[in-house]
């Protein structure tokens, strides 16, 4: 068994999960180091404030440690924890009676296309954060759950306690808005260069 966190760093996620299942907390710490940012980022993308996202992510990791024996390595560890975190965030919203308000709230923009840019994936990642802000809270939640946490529409509907059709509509509207913002427009970058030159 590896004795230090340095040796845990060289192990694969599945091996770390085996050690964690045997009660090795340092191995689980390594998993948190690897995937903590992704889980916290997902929760922020779902609409949680930074502090709240960190709280929920922490609870999700603690729950994951308790249930680590259930992780069979069929998907990725990060995906598994993300699903736990997404569900925990929804439970928190339900408990604090904020979910109904989110479902009823409308978005700020309506599929307009300001900020359509060319560029790299890194640029688009930055844009994703901005683009998600233009979605209605329910759309943002549904899109993040389906494309960020990897839930099916049915699973998202069940977790959100919404009809499947409603979730599909939210996802479709959200995707349309994101596509309008994130799809590179040929020539935009070129025009930008020309105007700079």
């Amino acid at each position: 068994m590896p004795g230090t966190s340095t040796s845990f760093a060289s192990l694969h996620d599945v091996e770390l999960c085996s050690y964690a299942a045997a009660g090795e907390r340092r191995a689980f710490g390594e998993l948190v180091r690897r995937h903590g940012s992704a889980v916290r980022q997902l929760l922020r993308r779902m609409g949680a404030q930074a502090a709240e996202a960190d709280d929920v992510a922490q609870d999700a990791f603690l729950a994951a440690f308790e249930r680590i024996a259930e992780f069979r390595g069929e998907g990725t560890f990060a995906g598994w924890v993300k699903r736990i975190a997404a569900r925990q965030y929804l439970r928190r919203l339900q408990r604090e009676k904020r979910l109904a308000a989110i479902a009823a709230e409308e978005g700020g923009e309506d599929g307009e296309t300001p900020g359509r840019l060319g560029g790299t994936d890194a640029d688009h990642r930055m844009d994703l954060e901005e683009a998600l802000k233009s979605l209605a809270p329910a759309e943002r939640l549904c899109v993040s759950m389906c494309y960020g946490a990897g839930l099916s529409h049915g699973e998202a509907a069940e977790a959100l306690n919404l009809p499947l059709g409603t979730v599909k509509s939210h996802v479709k509207r959200g995707l349309d808005k994101l596509r309008a913002r994130l799809t590179p427009v040929p020539g935009v970058e070129l025009e930008g260069r020309r105007s700079n030159g």
Binding site: G23, G29, S37, D121, H124, R125, S144, T183
Partner: protein
């Protein structure tokens, strides 16, 4: 087709998360919480084992064991007197046949419960 491409790209964008500057601190906080929870669990199981051992031992003592032991002690004395004719008695035999034997048994019971509790901690 373009729709599917966009969905794949969106999944890829969602999966790309830059490491946050406080990622290590976040992980350490969770490790500390796990350690605290683990220690608390260990103490609780230990305390439960000890109190179980004490209750078990006191039940053993209260259930007229002394009277039974006294009668057994008497029999043992007779037996040891008989044996003394054959082999020399030792201090150990006389100590066990006296009231000390009960308390040694009680101590052993508590110890056994303690070991059992420690084993439980290891298992969980």
């Amino acid at each position: 087709m373009a729709e599917l491409d966009f969905e794949r790209r969106l999944e890829r964008l969602f999966s790309q998360s830059p490491e946050m500057p406080d990622a290590a601190a976040f992980a350490e906080r969770i490790e500390r919480k796990l350690d605290r929870g683990w220690n608390l669990r260990r103490w609780m199981i230990g305390a439960a084992g000890l109190s179980g051992g004490v209750v078990g031992a006191s039940q053993l003592v209260m259930s007229n064991l002394f009277q039974r032991v006294e009668s057994a002690e008497e029999s043992a004395r007779v037996l040891s007197q008989g044996l003394a004719r054959v082999t020399p008695t030792t201090d150990m035999v006389s100590a066990l046949s006296g009231g000390y034997g009960v308390w040694i048994a009680v101590g052993l019971a508590v110890l056994t419960m303690g070991v059992f509790a420690a084993r439980l901690v290891e298992e969980f």
